[in-house]
């Protein structure tokens, strides 16, 4: 097993005829992902190396049964693309686009959470279940099939840690980038829950960073609900002090939001935290022993 993307994924790509959209769509397909359709308004009837293009996501879903969408359209069109995907009944929407306004996402999120569809991102690298399917922009050769799940707010760090773990001969069940924006469709907790329910994931690595309190909340969830061991990493010990959102920001989080604060919080809840990607890999190997 694996989570989010696998052999059952039927992918439609929104923005398939754009430069990056096309590049990554073909890479996803080459990896083995079942890419069933693309969407570019006005280009229905065309194809991208055999992938049929539709005018709308709804048309694509009706014609191909697509259940997952990947969004590659520029930020000022991406909010509309997310709504289009949700309206078309897509189960999992993965928004790669960086730069979507936060107020748009605030509304998208509130709308989303009233139904049972999932959104990964925006500003995320996607998800890969090695050997099964990849949806997104991750460099696939870093990953190998295995039993470690990875969740991360940062794309590049995800690759780094996957590679470090891979260098120790340990593969991944699914690697999930939830995205780095203040509001993303799926939280650490949402994905931890899925990994906990996946019998083929033996351990989860959670890659966090300074800012917000997602990691602390995830730590509480792990302590209360997870049997699967979780190893943490927090980036940003040397980071410049984050811009405070006025006093209001400090009042809301109640926490410092610093890397050290997050590390301490996680460790107090029993989650081992590495100080650099290499050490994280070593802790993973040690825990799996």
């Amino acid at each position: 097993m694996s989570i989010l993307v696998d052999q059952n994924t039927k992918l439609v790509v929104q923005g398939v005829t754009g430069r990056e959209g096309q590049f990554h769509t073909l890479r996803n397909k080459a990896y083995g992902t079942n890419v069933v359709a693309g969407v570019t308004p006005g280009k229905a009837g065309q194809d991208v190396e055999g992938i049929p293009v539709f005018n709308t996501v709804r048309d694509a879903v009706e014609a191909t049964g697509a259940n997952t969408s990947m969004i590659f359209v520029p930020p000022r069109f991406a909010t509309d693309a997310i709504y289009e995907s949700l309206d078309a009944g897509i189960e999992l929407t993965i928004a790669i686009t960086e730069g979507i306004p936060a107020h748009d996402m605030m509304r998208v999120y509130t709308h989303l959470k009233r139904g049972d569809q999932r959104l990964l991102g925006p500003n995320c690298p996607g998800a890969i279940s090695p050997g099964k399917a990849t949806v997104g922009i991750m460099p696939t050769d870093v990953f190998t099939p295995g039993r470690v799940g990875i969740i991360s707010r940062s794309g590049t760090l995800t690759y780094q840690i996957s590679k470090e773990i891979g260098d120790l001969g340990i593969g991944q069940s699914t690697v999930v980038g939830i995205g780095g924006d203040p509001i993303v469709g799926s939280s650490f907790i949402d994905i931890l829950q899925m990994f906990e329910a996946d019998p083929e994931t033996d351990l989860v690595v959670m890659v966090g960073e300074i800012g917000g309190d997602e990691e602390e909340r995830a730590g509480e969830f792990i302590a209360a609900n997870m049997k699967t061991p979780v190893v943490g990493y927090i980036a940003g010990f040397q980071a410049p002090p984050g811009k405070q959102m006025g006093h209001a920001g400090a009042i809301i989080t109640g926490s410092s939001g610093t890397a050290q604060g997050k590390k301490d919080a996680l460790e107090a809840l029993g989650v081992r935290v590495g100080t650099n990607p290499t050490e994280v890999a070593e802790i993973v190997a040690d825990t799996l022993k």
Binding site: E20, P75, R76, E98, G99, I100, P101, A102, H103, D104, M106, R107, Y109, T110, H111, N123, P125, I137, P139, V142, S154, G155, T156, L157, T158, Y159, Q160, K163, G180, P182, I183, V207, E209, I210, G211, G212, D213, E214, R217, A235, G236, F237, Q238, A239, P240, K243, M245, G246, H247, A248, G249, A250, I251, I252, T253, A259, T275, N276, P277, T278
Partner: protein
């Protein structure tokens, strides 16, 4: 994007939120003229984006235009916690009966706007939140429904706003939320929101932050963008749209993606070095972005070595290598540069460097080894 007090107040006025009448002044002469135009006692306020202006002497009363001139002369050029005062806001002095606190912000955890109100406004609202949590009324708003009158009422009753000021505060909250939505702000903070002797409710300060991602929809706000830094590299980066923050070390750092850059800073520190900066060339870094980023780094004389840490995803390592060569060609830098390339097109990128890069560019296979090498080279160069 954080706005200055005077910019925030000018926007407040557009949304019908009462502010004291005032004018901008960049010289003592302008301050005097502003005081004359406003009339009566005025307040001369340093425009810097940092707290504690008052304690630092950046806010002064002036009873007449000559005093305004004198206070402006003192404050202009003053250094407040590393910020130089280049601009003043001259406003009519307010007769304060009581100071409240009001804010609309973005609760990342709840993913909703959060409106906060307290009758204990003024200086240290964080202490109020900690010591008297019941004195700070908080309410989340469903962004699809918006801020309703009943939200405002609940806040006013629960913050203990004085009866004669209730209507004014209700109105101020409603308009602050409208401003939050209209400006696509991430923060609207008014501290203090005052109840005046003549029973009006007025925003005496304004802290407004705008979501950069939304600026394309607000050309009027984009025009407010002002460089708030005197630092050369920060200004360069700002102008070129590169995410850069100066730190006090000597190992220059560049990477693609905030996560890997932060992690690079951490490993440089673990290796005993001191990072000179945070520089994220962006998730989709291409040759040009890399060249631009390098120009910023190389312009900083205190940087003794560079660590370039790229893990290609959407970024292609061969493009990064090309960008590096182009920049070095143009800038002719001789300081040691440690490059680590992994992921998409990493082999091609490493090959480009091996074949065509000058001798001061070295490739390391891992992030840890790259950090160690960069730290060593910085020490050798000092």
């Amino acid at each position: 994007m954080d706005l200055f007090e005077y910019q925030g107040k000018q926007l407040f006025a557009k949304y019908g939120l009462a502010v004291p009448s005032g004018e901008v002044a960049d010289t003592p002469e302008q301050a005097k003229a502003a005081a004359e135009a406003i009339g009566g006692t005025v307040v001369v306020k340093a425009q810097v984006q940092v707290g504690g202006r008052g304690k630092a002497g950046g806010i002064k009363l002036a009873k007449n235009p000559d005093e305004a001139f004198a206070e402006a002369s003192n404050i202009l050029g003053m250094d407040i916690k590393g910020h130089t005062v280049n601009r003043l806001w001259i406003e009519t002095a307010s007769d304060i009966k009581k100071e409240y606190y009001a804010s609309v912000t973005f609760d990342r955890s709840a993913k909703k706007p959060l409106v906060m109100l307290s009758a204990m406004g003024g200086m240290d609202i964080e202490a109020v939140a900690e010591e008297h949590p019941e004195a700070l009324a908080r309410l989340h708003v469903d962004p699809l429904i918006g801020f309703q009158p009943h939200h405002a009422r609940w806040l006013i009753y629960h913050a203990g706003i004085d009866e004669p000021a209730q209507k004014g505060v209700l109105d101020a909250l409603t308009r602050a939320y409208e401003a939050f939505i209209g400006l696509e702000a991430t923060l609207i903070e008014i501290n203090p929101l005052i109840w005046t002797a003549d029973d009006r409710v007025v925003a005496l300060d304004a802290k407004v932050s705008i979501d950069n991602n939304a600026l394309y929809r607000h050309p009027d706000l984009e025009a407010l963008k002002e460089s708030v830094t005197d630092d050369e590299q920060e200004r360069m980066a700002h102008e070129r749209g590169v995410t850069y923050v100066k730190l006090d070390g000597d190992v220059g750092i560049m990477g693609n993606g905030a996560g890997i850059v932060m992690s690079s800073l951490d490993v440089v520190a673990l290796a005993g070095g001191k990072p000179a900066n945070f520089l994220d060339a962006g998730g989709g870094s291409n040759a040009e972005a890399v060249a631009t980023a390098l120009e910023v780094l190389l312009s900083d004389p205190k940087v003794k070595s560079l660590m370039i840490n790229i893990f290609g995803g959407i970024t292609r390592c061969d493009e990064v290598a090309e960008g590096l060569l182009t920049a070095l060609d143009k800038l002719g830098a001789t300081l040691p540069i440690v490059v680590r390339l992994d992921g998409t097109a990493a082999e091609a990128g490493r090959a480009i460097i091996a074949e065509r890069a000058p001798a001061n560019v070295v490739v390391e296979p891992t992030m840890l080894s790259a950090a160690k090498r960069a730290v060593e080279l910085a020490k050798e160069a000092s």
